[in-house]
Subunit: 131 residues, 2 copies
DNA sequence: CTAATCCTTCCCACGACGGGAAGGTCAAGG
DNA sequence: CCTTGACCTTCCCGTCGTGGGAAGGATTAG
């Protein structure tokens, strides 16, 4: 199976597959006589795994940890859970940060009439001279 | 006022100030005989403005729009509000995306006992073979 | 035989900076 | 007057996770 077919089968672009190989997430696959990458079923499994972890927002570094744990028969579920919990914390922080931006902006936008006149509390807030 | 003092005064690093100038957010300031950038009060106002807009999560492109509106005497508050509302929408989308990751992960983490045994629903979910 | 479609490696770009090198400038103190 | 240290300048590289595209070889279908 060539890279294009692997991409088709997994929904991971050929570009990304090569990148994952380059950064060490994916084992370098067999090569055909012409130098084409040849993928096996287990490579597709790994790609699916990476794809799902990425959709859950894990960084490639975290995906790398998860892959290592996946392959490690001696892992404990506690190790996996720790990676997940840390990620959940990061997501919560990010959400809180974005939510506070939304709160401030929504408050300002409400006070902005949105008409043709130039007066705008949003700009007033941005140009305020105090901290 | 040199760049270091402007940085000190506004909390925007000298690196960032130069970068904002490079990408056209900030007017190139006067230069001293030796080629040092010399900042005036209005440059500091602009830096404060940029700083606040960045804290609200606007991209530099959006900050650029806001600065243009700020300087445009003929603007309407509706134009400003439109930029803000678009940004609020983007923030909401991002929050929803992150929240759905949190929901999935929290659900999985709850079912993972976190002990020493290797069985882990998080890994099981990631390696699932169906879509 | 040729044309289309694959594949390869390579470099460039994004956004929004930070780090650090190499070199010029300025102010204070000996 | 000279040195030292703190400042400033430009320049290039790295981040993170890709996408785009060029140049060139391989394969396949007609």
């Amino acid at each position: 199976m060539n890279i294009g077919q692997a991409a088709e089968a997994t929904g991971v672009s050929a570009k990304r597959i090569r990148y994952y190989e380059q950064v060490g997430l994916l084992e370098p696959p067999q090569r055909s006589d012409a130098g084409y990458r040849v993928y096996e079923a287990r490579d597709l499994h790994t790609l699916h795994f990476i794809q799902r972890a990425r959709r859950l927002g894990f960084s490639l570094a975290q995906v790398s940890e998860l892959l290592a744990l996946w392959h490690d028969q001696g892992r404990s579920s506690g190790q996996v859970k720790a990676v997940a919990m840390k990620h959940i914390d990061e997501l919560h922080s990010k959400i809180d940060e974005l939510q506070s931006m939304v709160d401030t902006l929504t408050h300002l936008a409400k006070r902005c009439d949105g008409g043709d006149r130039p007066d705008c509390p949003i700009l007033s807030e941005l140009q305020r001279s105090e901290s």
